[in-house]
Symmetry: C2
Subunit: 336 residues, 2 copies
Amino acid sequence: MHPQYYEAGDTLLQSGTVLPGVRLAYAVHGTLNAARDNGIVYPSHYAGTHDDNAWNIGPGRALDPEKYCIIVPNLLGNGVSTSPSCPPPGMASMDFPAVTMLDNIRLQHRLVTEVLGITRLALVTGHSMGAQQAFHWGALYPDMVERIAPFCGSARTSRHNFLFLEGIKAALTADAAWAGGHYAAPPVTGLRAFARVYAGWAWSQAWFRERLDMQVLGLPSLEAFLTHAWEPHFLSKDANDLLAMLSTWQGADISANTHYDGDFHQALAAIKAKAIVMPCRTDLYFPPEDSEIEVARMPDAELRIIPSIWGHMAGGGLNPADATFIDTALIDLLAR
Amino acid sequence: MHPQYYEAGDTLLQSGTVLPGVRLAYAVHGTLNAARDNGIVYPSHYAGTHDDNAWNIGPGRALDPEKYCIIVPNLLGNGVSTSPSCPPPGMASMDFPAVTMLDNIRLQHRLVTEVLGITRLALVTGHSMGAQQAFHWGALYPDMVERIAPFCGSARTSRHNFLFLEGIKAALTADAAWAGGHYAAPPVTGLRAFARVYAGWAWSQAWFRERLDMQVLGLPSLEAFLTHAWEPHFLSKDANDLLAMLSTWQGADISANTHYDGDFHQALAAIKAKAIVMPCRTDLYFPPEDSEIEVARMPDAELRIIPSIWGHMAGGGLNPADATFIDTALIDLLAR
């Protein structure tokens, strides 16, 4: 689907830097009703675009475009919204400034309110960094968000998760061809290393024990899985885009702003939305223990653990059982 | 402690290659008794030497040198035994051949039998790759090994564990300074990347959630932990040594030999030794599920899971509670 573009103009970032000529790309499935109360925001995840959320939207599903107006904004840095790979005119890729979750959510809020004229959202949901955005919406606009359903993501990037991201970053930037971001041709060796390190984290130990990499994708070996499926996924991305989104991810924290001034518990307690929080039992970087801790501090949240060996990728839509689990939870939540 | 050297001479490897002038470095704690039945083998782990096992040996401990003769052989490739960094005369570092677990165990067997005159071992124990060596001793010399106590290790490297190792390998070799092994100066960027990727795997998510990196080591931040503790550990190692041991690890499998011809279940069933197998509950690359599967196929094995958030490093000796847990199990096993 071709996205639409919200030309947000020069935008003051949380860091104090102005990012000029910001474009927020977004897709819309369905239409707003007369009361404008059927809007759902479903932001993109790391290294994904609006298209990567399409599996979870359709007639008969919870996110039914015949009932809801589902808005899918693209993360800054993802290569579709303003990004290192498509920077503002006159800006070099490596000069792209650090962007926070708050910057993304404020921008999405402007789109939703100023452009689309929505004052209450029925739901914000998302996978991974999309889940983190759902938590941020809930904490930053508590009176506007009726429900949140974050899956395989947290309200704050844990220290271990941060470290996992340091690892993939170190693998990518170990390639001298990256050149501090000043590459002319893609740093292929670094992107391959990035992919190979990431592969160990994305699914669970049991997923590989059961050889689902071979069964699901029909590939003859682990090496084939890496070289024919996983590496091409990241080789198709821009290195500086990957690093920009990674920086946003590492800093994600619903309390890292002047509203909450670092008081994480206060920020969780401020989320008025009805919530179903869905970690996967075997997620290696968003483990269910973090969700359990967060849900305990949220006033109206249910913890519903995805019982899957798909690890973080339980939220990726490839496993029908997990997709159904998430869809069922969304149906339950939207009925509340 | 200065090691002793067993000059094993030209050695036919499992691959069919002859590794000339092999030296096996080993340390001995205690003395053999007259019956020569108090020998214990406690091999080194990945990127470790005989010195890294010393914490687990001492008067009053299970591995008491006043009662036992504890032999600590160094893995081929670890920089003390014959390795890429100390190759046979005339061999270049990058020409060091692939060495298997079988190659190591056969060499250790020659040391133990031909040099030390031992025909039965009271115990073989070890951490991580040391645990893998204990499993190999049990499967390859079932009539010679009375007991095995592998901790934080498996009888066969799992597919997920293999993938984790592919990741750290890719991070190291993404540095062009590695130059296919032909480096003159160490590939510092690659070694740092290797360390940063590895750091995410060595402890559990909970260990970082509890900030034990700061509490235990007295460091002010995660970044300080990486740059002042973890990176220097791997910067002190030789890159080709790390890759040689990694290759041995990836191929570890007690049935990958002519004795068992790939029949893993048969190899597990052949282990006559009394065994206590100790995975750590939160180990990310030797998870307890793999140990459970292996123990179920072993005739005389007990599964005793280390109840720790120290992950793989529960077997490293730094956490007193885990060290006591392991010591207690060794005392129990040696009393059987």
